[in-house]
């Protein structure tokens, strides 16, 4: 049991940090602009694909920096020429716009890179075993992911707390109606924040694409989970996103690794694996792991719509 717990914490933290990379940008964008960006995971996907293609030419390390910048630029274009126009109609059309955008980006990715996964792999310089724990090898790349996430969190924290731009963003996170009053060029600030948030997702993609698979389905796979993180953490709260990412990462990994079912633990007691309660009785935690995030999403929204750390209700 101890091993299982240690294992799930380690892998859960790893998965959680990836979730955080994806969701921190989303929570910033929502907190400031009130836009729940449905296409956020699509920018994560773009990060992976851009890094893959760039990496073929420039190598991984250059791509690590260039890809997020490109994704940020794509985000800026989307904000400037798409969202800004829709903004006047209200939040629901904004949500719809990003919903449609997610479809279009997925199709474009499939168009250019094909529907099968691309062979996006860790660079040789990181592709060795860093340490072994209880018979399991941990590659240097996983350590690297952790490092990137830490740098990102600290960087975000410094940006928000210590810079002028950060103060504006912070102010806007708590009182979005006040940004204009501060005399800032609100549309510019919006474009910047959106681009920045997308770039963060892109960075997540650069490393996430290696850790998982890089295929056109990766956005739809991660999209809802990113929402769960942001809602659970509290919309607009960066520390909330971190905590929620870790919670979900660890819980999901734990459920996947323990392989527990009531029937397995207590015995089937003659209950057949059929009928509603029968199926629940025999349900393995590995299968629950898949629905766990959604369960959390619904429960959070019903019982605590402002999430763990949120100041405002969604």
């Amino acid at each position: 049991m101890f091993e299982t717990i240690a294992y799930s914490i380690l892998n859960g933290v790893l998965y959680g940090t990836l979730l955080f990379m994806m969701s921190s940008g989303l929570t910033l964008i929502f907190g400031m602009m009130g836009v729940l960006n449905f296409a956020h995971a699509s920018f994560y996907m773009l990060g992976a694909y851009f890094a893959y293609t760039l990496g073929l030419a420039t190598g991984f390390w250059v791509a690590l920096f260039l890809a997020p910048i490109l994704v940020g630029a794509a985000g800026a274009l989307v904000e400037r020429y798409g969202l800004r126009r829709v903004h006047q109609y209200g939040h629901v059309p904004e949500l719809l716009f990003t919903f449609g955008l997610a479809y279009v980006i997925e199709e474009l990715v499939a168009l250019f890179w094909g529907t099968v996964p691309v062979p996006y792999k860790a660079p040789a310089s990181l592709d060795f075993t860093a340490f072994s724990l209880m018979g399991l090898d941990y590659s240097m790349f996983k350590v690297f992911i952790l490092l990137v996430a830490i740098v990102m969190f600290v960087g975000l924290w410094l940006l928000l707390k210590k810079t002028r731009a950060g103060l504006v963003i912070q102010g806007a996170l708590s009182r979005p109606d006040m940004v204009g009053a501060l005399g800032h060029n609100v549309p510019m600030v919006f474009t910047f924040v959106f681009a920045f948030g997308c770039a963060l997702a892109g960075l997540g993609g650069v490393v996430g694409g290696i850790q998982f698979v890089t295929d056109p389905g990766m956005a739809f796979m991660m999209g809802p989970i990113v929402f769960v993180v942001v809602v659970l953490g509290g919309l607009g709260s960066v520390p909330g996103a971190l905590v929620a990412s870790l919670i979900i990462g660890i819980l999901q990994t734990f459920f996947l690794s323990i392989n527990f079912s009531l029937a397995g633990a207590i015995g089937s007691l003659g209950i057949e694996d059929s009928g509603f309660f029968g199926v629940l009785w025999h349900m393995e935690t590995t299968r629950i792991a898949a629905v766990l995030p959604y369960l959390l999403l619904v429960l959070t929204l019903i019982f605590r719509p402002r999430g763990l750390f949120g100041k405002r209700e969604a």
């Binding site: 729940l36 798409g82 126009r85 829709v86 109609y89 939040h91 629901v92 059309p93 949500l95 719809l96 716009f97 919903f99 449609g100 955008l101 479809y103 279009v104 997925e106 199709e107 474009l108 168009l111 250019f112 094909g114 809802p224 929402f227 769960v228 809602v231 059929s274 009928g275 509603f276 199926v279 349900m283 299968r287 898949a290 629905v291 959604y294 369960l295 999403l297 619904v298 929204l301 019903i302 719509p305 209700e313 969604a314």
Partner: protein, 424 residues
């Protein structure tokens, strides 16, 4: 109803003719498209129309954006399927086929009441996210509880092995189609009439200003809840009909894609108009089934169409037509009809060019041999040479360019010239 939006009570155009024209079309179309495929497509259209109308009870009338409406469609379908199978197993004794959709509706209502009770407390983003989560939960569960949902394969039934109220032979696809039409008409009438009731009015009120609604005595949560439950009921009805036409139901019917499609169709048609969702649903059904066998790019076309509507025509396709109609009726086309037609033509040329570009891209990037001869709009081209690309891009740029940078300013000038002339 005039409260619904700019659709306005003033315009009789959108009020009465749909009730004549659409049923007429529904009767004439199967004479024209009388292939097996054609009839099936028409049946699916009818079902999609009911589903979209039910969806618009939420989005258009109550302002509730749902990402999980297929839950009620799908669960309605599953329950209806179980009843159909019971009838099958009983050797064709029991509930007549015509009433199987009622079972679907009852199931939709049942689950609408249960899930609605905690979904509708808030509107806006919270509601949208709850429906997203519920949709994913129900979809995942459908793969776990395979007794009820039939696992990946789904469940099959046999509509012929069921009694008919009127002695109709539903072995015939056409007869089944007319059953769909009958139910679609009934559903459309009820959904239309609902908008005129106190509940329908207050749904609009709650959409526009929930706070004010409270101060005239209404609880917005309850208004939303009843609308939600009724919408779920009609979604279940559509699901029940699907069981009859396709005789199979699987996890896709409760899935997120199904939920997404009804949202796209409804919005593309126009959520501010009663016939908007009908037009959108019909269009999407046609696109999905005919375009998908014709081009790989249909999802892309679909997404681009949706985004363009959201950005440039939030009142949907019906909204575009209606706005032009109102302008025309107010004499706004006088002296500039030519320019309007010119803009339309240029826009169509632009779209044509864009389609060529997209089709070329798909051939170039996705086919095994990009240099193989490729039939594009009646021409055989080689996608690895520059010419087809240049021509396609050229057509697209010229078309859109003329529309936006020649026609549009010209129209604006002409309109301002006319109105000044009127003042002088």
């Amino acid at each position: 109803m005039a409260t619904n939006t700019a659709a306005g009570g003033a315009s009789n155009l959108l009020r009465f003719w749909p009730w004549v024209v659409i049923p007429l079309l529904a009767l004439i179309l199967p004479q024209i498209f009388d292939s097996r495929h054609g009839i099936t497509l028409l049946s699916h259209m009818g079902i999609a129309i009911i589903f979209a109308l039910s969806y618009n009870m939420l989005l258009g009338n109550t302002g509730l954006l749902s990402f999980g409406h297929a839950v009620y469609y799908g669960l309605g379908a599953y329950v209806a399927m179980h009843v159909l199978r019971m009838v099958n197993d009983a050797g064709g004794e029991g509930l007549p086929l015509e009433l199987i959709p009622v079972v679907g509706a009852a199931a939709g209502l049942f689950f609408g009441v249960i899930f609605g009770s905690f979904s509708v407390r808030r509107a806006g983003v919270v509601f949208a996210m709850i429906t997203l989560g519920l949709g994913a939960l129900v979809h995942s569960s459908s793969l776990m509880f395979s007794d009820f949902f039939g696992g990946e394969a789904g469940l099959f039934g046999n509509r012929v092995a069921a009694p008919s109220l009127f002695g109709v032979d539903y072995g015939s696809n056409t007869n089944t189609y007319y059953l769909v039409v009958a139910w679609a008409l009934i559903a459309a009438i009820f959904i239309y009439l609902l908008r005129k009731t106190p509940l329908g009015w207050m749904a609009n009120a709650v959409r526009d200003n929930p706070e004010r609604a409270q101060f005239v005595g209404y609880n917005p949560t309850i208004v939303r809840f009843i609308q939600f439950a009724l919408a779920a009921m009609f979604a279940g009805l559509a699901g029940g009909l699907f069981v009859i036409t396709d005789e199979i139901v699987n996890d896709e019917s409760v899935g997120q894609i199904q939920s997404g499609i009804v949202l796209l169709g409804t919005y593309i048609g126009g959520i501010g108009y009663f016939i908007g969702p009908m037009v959108g649903a019909a269009l999407v059904t046609v696109l999905e089934s005919s375009l998908s066998s014709y081009t790989e790019a249909w999802v892309l076309y679909f997404g681009l169409l949706f985004i363009s509507i959201v950005m440039f025509a939030p009142m949907g396709l019906v909204g575009i037509v209606h706005t032009q109609y109102l302008t025309w009726k107010a004499g706004g086309w006088k002296g500039n009809t030519g320019i309007r037609l010119y803009m339309l033509l240029a826009g169509l040329v632009g779209i044509f060019g864009a389609i060529c570009v997209i089709e070329l891209s798909y051939h170039y990037f996705r086919s095994w041999d990009p240099s193989a001869p490729f039939g594009l709009m009646g021409f055989t081209v080689n996608a690895t040479t520059a010419l087809p690309w240049l021509v396609s891009f050229g057509i697209a740029i010229i078309g859109f360019g003329l529309m936006l940078f020649h026609g549009k300013p010209m129209l604006a000038r002409r309109i301002s010239a006319t109105s000044e002339g009127g003042n002088a």
